[in-house]
């Protein structure tokens, strides 16, 4: 069974939503920081290079201007040491003024000038190794570069990045190298601003994630709750349904560790020490429905549900399981308290309800079972309460508590239901035979086969114990074939011993729904070389819902095949007369209830004699069931019934005993 728990709150959904939002925010923040950092760094380098360009050009221009002035005075070729020194001082002075003044202070600087009248290298805070590395790297990259006057770039030596610029024009080459400050500055800004911005963006994203997730979660949860409610509640009365009950019981009476795993929010039940389960069935619901229409029926159900709910304590749960049946689960309630509640429930259901200006009181039967004294599991509790309810309904006593000593002991029934498989496969069900005799002389004219279950632990069980189990278990057809085959096999054995007594078996209308039953029977008869006329089918009328025309046509087929037919328990069923008018039966078996006390009850005598009179024109033989006294035999003979069976003649007996009777051709009763 699919549990509605699947619809319960999924906490991980919300967690996932929040995580997704946060991861998204984090990724956006990272991308944003990285891109901004790179952008700022690139911009910085570009600006620095431009500035370096101007500086290098300034120094270069100074040298050129100086040369031009000099050309006017002397020739270029005569460069004196004095002049060279003067130029060097001039350039050094310029560098000092530009780079090392009070306003700006350059950390690292390397200037190299090569020309016809000046070769100068100024280095500030540069180590010789750094200069060496730089010049080697530069000369390498210069070779690879296309020849152009302005060459520049960024070089990394160790941890420090340097920007360099070369101006190479008009005899002079000026190389200027400085540390790139932009990257450090950028990093500093990033630390200060971007990080804080990211924190704030992250905070906003978290805020957004929480709100969004709770909003979405709420929407999904609302839908889920609605679905769960639909799945676990009855739409008419709004009460919880059987599905809800299953979960409620599972949580209430299973141990705590199991139920802890997925506990639905709405079921606030904890394992209980004891409790009572009530089954309530409205007695006249169907009549109300039929007489006043479904709307009235619905109104009745709603009113009853309302009234029942009003008298229940909050801890007790009212459940509508379908139709006109309600279940109440009352935790922590003793059997004694339950009796009071049951009586109260009956009174409440008996209060009249106004429908279409009619006062209707539907009445109800209540049955209950107690946990844990009656059963430890939910299913058994319901079955037992149900059985108690049926008992109450039959006795018309309002309410009833499940009793372990009642003949239909629930526990045994459950056990038997489980054992039924073995019963059929291991042939534990055997046939007993009760003789049918001629009343005048006690001669056996046939036997009726009756099933007995030789249960390995419970001993011999009569059909009362297992026939309804077979019907409920959907094994009617299998069981029918089993009985037919067993009877035919027995007949074959007896035939070899010279016994040719007909054997009657009981079949319910359900058996006749088996479309292959007739061919199965005929094949079995043929296999065992038994004549069809030896077999007789007694139709027990256990269900009135089966279509009588269909049953009649099936039985006609049996009869046409030569198999004899009888109506069992004549007079008690709903459609005995219908059968009689539709079927050509060989025997009518008058029910034991009419034979019992026949000698003192003139009404019963009237019924029996009518049945006998009825049988005569139909050409069928009347057999009286349940004859217990000689007086009954005498009266029956006087009335014109010449066949019968009952304890007066013989009880049902096993194969050995009946064989003895048949072989010796004994007349009954035993004298």
């Amino acid at each position: 069974m699919a549990s509605f728990l699947e619809l319960q709150k999924d906490k991980s959904f919300r967690l996932k939503l929040i995580s997704i939002c946060l991861i998204l925010a984090l990724s956006v923040s990272i991308v944003y920081v990285v891109v901004s950092y790179r952008l700022a760094a690139d911009l910085g380098i570009k600006t620095e290079l431009e500035s370096l360009h101007k500086q290098a050009m300034l120094i270069h221009s100074e040298l050129i201007i100086n040369d031009k002035n000099r050309v006017a005075a002397t020739s270029l070729s005569n460069v004196t040491a004095l002049e060279s020194k003067a130029l060097k001082d001039k350039v050094s002075d310029l560098v000092n003024r530009v780079y090392f003044n009070d306003h700006s202070h350059t950390d690292e600087l390397y200037l190299k000038i090569t020309g016809p009248r000046l070769n100068l290298a100024i280095s500030h805070q540069f180590s010789p190794v750094q200069i060496e590395t730089l010049t080697t790297m530069l000369s390498l990259s210069l070779e690879n570069m296309p020849l152009s006057a302005m060459q520049n770039g960024v070089k990394k030596v160790g941890e420090t990045q340097f920007i360099w610029y070369i101006v190479d024009e008009s005899d002079y080459q000026v190389l200027l190298v400085k540390t790139a400050r932009s990257l450090d500055d950028t990093l500093d800004f990033v630390m200060k601003r971007l990080t804080i911005t990211s924190v704030i963006v992250f905070w906003l994203a978290t805020w957004f994630a929480l709100t969004l997730s709770s909003w979405m979660n709420k929407r999904v949860q609302d839908k889920n709750d609605a679905l769960a409610h639909l799945a676990t509640h009855d739409s008419l009365t709004g009460l919880p349904n059987r599905l809800f009950l299953a979960d409620l019981m599972r949580l209430s009476i299973t141990d705590h560790s199991q139920s802890e795993q997925r506990k639905p929010a709405k079921l606030k039940s904890t394992p209980v020490k004891e409790g009572c389960l009530f089954v309530i069935d409205l007695d006249k619901f169907k009549e109300v429905n039929d007489a006043f229409g479904h709307a009235a029926g619905d109104f009745l159900l709603i009113s009853v549900a309302q009234k029942l709910n009003d008298i229940l304590a909050p801890s007790q749960t009212l459940i509508r399981t379908g139709g006109d049946e309600f279940i109440i689960w009352a935790p922590e309630m003793s059997a004694k308290e339950a009796e009071t509640l049951a009586a109260q429930l009956v009174i409440v259901c008996n209060e009249p309800i106004t429908i279409n200006d009619f006062f209707i009181n539907t009445g109800a039967s209540v049955g209950f079972s107690h946990y844990p004294s009656h059963a430890q599991d939910a299913e058994s509790l319901i079955i037992y309460a149900d059985m108690a309810m049926y008992e109450a309904k039959q006795k018309r006593c309002g309410w009833s508590m499940f009793s372990e000593v009642s003949p239909n002991n629930g526990q045994q029934r459950l056990k038997l239901r489980a054992d039924l498989d073995n019963a059929l496969s291991q042939k534990q069900i055997k046939l007993y035979y009760q003789p049918k005799v001629m009343l005048q002389n006690g001669q056996v004219i046939g036997v009726e086969a009756l099933a007995r279950w030789y249960h390995p632990t419970d001993g011999q069980l009569s059909p009362a114990y297992f026939v309804d189990l077979i019907e409920q278990g959907g094994r009617v057809q299998e069981f029918g074939r089993y009985i037919i085959l067993a009877a035919i096999e027995q007949m074959a054995v007896w035939q070899q011993q010279g016994i040719l007594t007909p054997v009657a078996i009981n079949l319910s209308p359900f058996n006749l729904l088996d479309p292959e039953l007739l061919s199965f029977t005929l094949t079995s008869l043929e296999q065992h070389k038994v004549a069809p006329s030896q077999l007789e089918i007694e139709l027990i009328e256990s269900a009135t819902s089966v279509n009588i025309d269909y049953i009649a046509s099936k039985l006609t087929d049996f009869r046409n095949a030569g198999i004899k037919l009888a109506i069992d328990d004549f007079g008690t069923g709903m459609s005995s007369l219908s059968y009689l008018s539709n079927l050509n039966v060989n025997h009518i078996k008058i029910d034991r209830s009419f034979i019992d006390n026949l000698e003192h009850d003139p009404k019963k005598r009237a019924i029996v004699s009518t049945a006998i009179a009825l049988a005569e024109p139909l050409n069928c033989q009347v057999i009286a069931e349940g004859i217990e006294t000689k007086a009954q035999v005498d009266i029956l003979i006087k009335m014109g019934c010449f066949c019968g069976q009952g304890y007066y003649f013989a009880k049902p007996m096993d194969v050995k005993d009946i064989e003895a009777v048949l072989l010796e051709n004994t007349t009954l009763p035993f004298s």
Binding site: K192, R193, I196, T197, I200, W203, W207, L210, T211, S213, S214, K218
Partner: protein, 71 residues
Amino acid sequence: MKKNLHPIDRSIRGIIGLLFTGFALFNGAYLEEPVLEVLIGVFGVLNLISLFFGWCPVYHLAGINTSDNKK
């Protein structure tokens, strides 16, 4: 205004609130960015509100409750 913060939650917010508000007011020329200063100020003040009232507007909207007395 119903409280929805656990004392621990509340005190953490208090510390964050004080730090951020203080930073926004007294960072001097460190940030040089008014937009950021305002944002940090708002963030800090919101946290301080949470400290004083034991109530967080976002928790309220999101239906989160970290306080002990849920019922």
